[in-house]
């Protein structure tokens, strides 16, 4: 119990809210990326061929949204998948979810997905490529967890359907041909202590990379979910020793607004 806590840092709420700690590529005005990364005229308002995403995710995606006809891989099933679909759902898009019987609908609704425009196919079965192709015909966003790793041929067939229908396939898993890959590198829960408090919010470090111009990884800290279940930008937080090796017991802790101790799990 409590293993691995080596350092407890106290941050006051003011510090935490207002001070943007120096990070790799965060500038004041959280959503603006350094000029080199901004595609001219493309990252501000998504156009016809781009499905909108939540504002905090714009900087992580080429063209500032989900490019129609593209595949986005979200690493594994997590709330990040829901957050990716939420922006378009708010905008009126229909979303189908295949192969994820464990999807928490309330969490999805809190993240911004309209549950009235959500369709769940718990088990697409062995014929899942056909099911996905049918869904792509009617739904702007299809969230898929493939039951197995698809062969290259199968994968290309699904990708062709994605392009043909101009939809977006968000894969909760790996997808070799994905234009963009996102994953959660680190996360910390706040609000819960040892025997007291409760889970209130989670700060995650989302890393995005992809192909071509988007090959260089970029990083964002998000509240995923925030205290009310929504997804918002979080200030960068420099973990003293929260390095990627993680296993060495270099977890660190900090306090959230209410002073409860939160412990980071190194990714």
């Amino acid at each position: 119990m409590g293993a691995g806590i080596t350092q407890v840092t106290s941050l006051s709420s003011r510090q935490h809210d207002d001070v943007v700690l120096p990070g790799k590529d965060v500038l004041p005005g959280k959503d603006v990326l350094p000029g080199k990364d901004v595609l001219p005229g493309k990252d501000v308002l998504p156009g016809e061929d781009v499905l909108p995403v939540l504002p905090v995710l714009r900087g992580l995606l080429p063209a500032g949204g989900l490019l129609r006809g593209s595949v986005v891989a979200a690493g594994r099933w997590s709330m990040l998948c829901l957050a990716l679909a939420a922006g378009a759902s708010v905008d009126g898009a229909w979303c189908a979810v295949a192969g994820l019987p464990q999807l928490g609908v309330r969490a999805a609704a809190d993240a911004g997905l309209d549950s009235g425009r959500l369709l769940l196919i718990a088990d697409p079965g062995t014929g899942w490529p056909q099911v996905v192709a049918s869904l792509l015909d009617g739904f702007e966003i299809v969230l898929l967890r493939p039951p197995e790793r698809p062969s290259a041929q199968l994968r290309r067939r699904v990708e062709a359907a994605v392009r043909r229908h101009g939809s977006v396939l968000v894969v909760a898993g790996d997808w070799d041909g994905a234009q963009v890959r996102l994953h959660i590198a680190r996360q910390e829960w706040t609000g819960i202590g040892v025997g007291h408090g409760r889970l209130r919010a989670r700060r995650v470090e989302v890393v995005a990379d992809g192909r071509g111009a988007w090959a260089r990884p970029r990083t964002r800290w998000l509240w995923l979910p925030g205290p009310d279940g929504s997804v918002t930008a979080a200030a960068d937080w420099v973990v003293g020793a929260g390095s990627a090796d993680g296993a060495g017991g270099s977890n660190s802790a900090w306090t959230d607004h209410r002073g409860a101790v939160a412990v980071s799990g190194a990714g």
């Binding site: 999807l103 718990a122 279940g229 090796d245 101790v261």
Partner: protein, 521 residues
């Protein structure tokens, strides 16, 4: 707007309670939650002994016209009794209701304990005590009570013109229902032209696919014919004829207007129920053996030679008025895609979530098959003391994972009836995976649910637990057993930062995972 007088159509509705409630179950609980083709066929073959034309309203609810059969079988009550007995003898539970008009008959059939017979002209009086929600028109469920109208009787007492002014076309429909009338006046004249469409198969179709394909084309053709006459069809007669001349006729009702894919889907169900049918009714004894011997044959008497679709009930196509704001309108494109998937996986495999009330995350969502309407059993938006505070978990296991939570000495943590814990939790292992160190936790939060109902009562205590890998879990202990009901995001399935040490917990049954977790970096 005036076809009120005259002979009212007497209708018998057969309601199979256990069957239709399959829509209320999640597909995980009910693996074969499809259309229940076999039961459907059993019920229909029984009903066909009483009346040749059976209308399937939706799975679990069938209707027949009473007039002829009642005279033959010695009165309405007698007919209802005989039908129930025949169905119960086949091992299915059922209730029957007889009334003027379909809406009243459906409610009569749902009456406890075994349905009701509403005398002619008594529909309005029978309907009066029902709440307005019985109309199943979501827009009015909320509006009418706010206007002080809680029962159908109060609603029916309003002048029709007032209902029309205030509530529009939908209000007129609802008001007619509440008065015990048919929702829309039927078109008084017979359609002058024969609107039926048919497709001959030469050679006969041995497989169901070409028949279903033809049905889709026929449905388009039918739709075009109807649209040209500004008619819409709410009921459709599907007739399939076999090589040896035998035929099966089904009536299908579809809420909303029938789309081509919806029609094709129903034809597929009809053919499937036929193939799996055990009892083909009178005169089938000869053809049954060969029909069953060849598992691929679609019909009992060889292949299908003819498929005919006849619009059986026509109404004026008044279009559908959509809500001005906020209605999640199912567009044709979405409906087509969803129906296409339903055709592949079965009716119950494609669901829409409805948020409901409850304490545990699994209770808070009801999955309704696409195309069905169902109100949540437990209403959302009420306070549920003891529910899980926000944020909601992103992963809710359809069947909770078994778990082992131990203290630092390795003995399982227990919680007494007075919510005293034996020790702090130190290790968590879920679904047979490797143990993870607990770095923070909160709880126990006791919940004593349904203590008034011993078989369903349960006492449990919940915990939120964060483990060393950064994953957060919602654990529950009941009768000394630990279960993982839900998890906030898992960093990985037993991802310890450098390597994967476990397998993916199977979300289906909480048992051992079938697939190795592949992501090995």
């Amino acid at each position: 707007m005036n076809a009120v007088g005259g002979m009212r159509r007497r209708v018998l509705v057969l309601y199979c309670p256990g069957w239709s409630s399959s829509a209320q179950r999640s597909p995980a609980q009910d693996e074969q939650a499809g259309p229940g083709a076999q039961d459907l066929d059993r019920v229909i073959s029984v009903l066909e002994e009483f009346c040749p034309q059976v209308e399937v309203l939706h799975p679990g609810v069938c209707a027949i016209s009473v007039r002829g059969p009642a005279r033959y079988f010695g009165g309405e009550e007698e007919l209802a009794r005989k039908i129930s007995e025949a169905i119960i003898r086949r091992g299915l539970d059922c209730r029957t209701g007889i009334a003027d008009g379909l809406f009243t008959a459906v409610l009569a059939a749902r009456a406890e304990p075994s349905g009701a017979v509403v005398p002619p002209g008594g529909a309005a009086a029978f309907l009066a005590p029902f709440p307005v929600t019985a109309l199943e028109i979501p827009e009015l469920d909320d509006l009418l009570p706010r206007l002080g109208i809680t029962t159908l009787g109060e609603f029916a007492a309003l002048p029709a013109a007032v209902a029309a002014n205030r509530l529009g076309a939908q209000g007129v429909l609802a008001h007619r229902l509440a008065r015990g009338l048919d929702p829309r006046p039927l078109v008084p004249r017979q359609p002058a032209a024969d609107l039926s469409v048919e497709w001959e198969f030469d050679p006969p179709a041995e497989q169901s696919e070409p028949v279903v394909f033809a049905a889709k084309a026929l449905a388009d053709q039918l739709q075009a014919g109807l649209a040209a006459r500004r008619l819409a069809c709410v009921r459709m007669r599907v007739q399939a004829v076999c090589e040896d001349g035998r035929e099966i006729i089904r009536l299908w009702r579809y809420d909303g207007l029938l789309s081509a894919v919806a029609v094709a889907e129903r034809v597929r169900w009809q053919l499937e129920s036929w193939r799996t049918s055990q009892d083909l009714g009178a005169g089938a004894a000869g053809g049954r053996a060969d029909g069953r011997a060849d598992g691929r044959a679609v019909g009992p008497g060889g292949g299908i030679t003819l498929l005919r679709l006849t619009p059986d009930q026509l109404v004026r196509d008044e279009g559908r008025q959509l809500g001005l704001w906020g209605d999640a309108v199912v567009s044709d494109r979405v409906a087509r895609a969803a129906a296409g998937v339903q055709a592949m996986l079965g009716h119950g495999a494609v669901t829409r979530p409805v948020l409901a009330g409850g304490r545990s995350p699994a209770e808070q969502v009801l999955l309704v098959p696409f195309g069905d309407a169902a109100a949540p059993l437990l209403p959302a938006g009420r306070p549920w003391p003891g529910n899980i505070p926000a944020p909601a978990p992103a992963t809710v296991y359809p069947a909770p994972l078994s778990a082992r939570i131990t203290d630092s000495s390795g003995t399982p943590v227990t919680v007494t009836g007075r919510v005293q814990m034996s020790d702090f939790p130190a290790l968590l292992s879920a679904g047979g995976g490797p143990p993870l160190a607990v770095i923070s936790w909160a709880g126990p939060w006791p919940a004593t649910e349904r203590w008034w109902d011993p078989p369903r009562a349960r006492r449990r205590a919940r915990f939120q637990i964060v483990t060393e890998d950064g994953s957060a879990w919602l654990a529950v202990v009941q009768d000394g057993r630990w279960l993982i009901e839900a998890s906030y995001d898992l960093m990985a399935y037993y991802w310890d930062g450098a390597r994967v040490t476990g397998t993916v917990p199977s979300y289906r049954d909480g048992a051992r995972a079938p697939t190795e977790y592949r992501r090995n970096r």
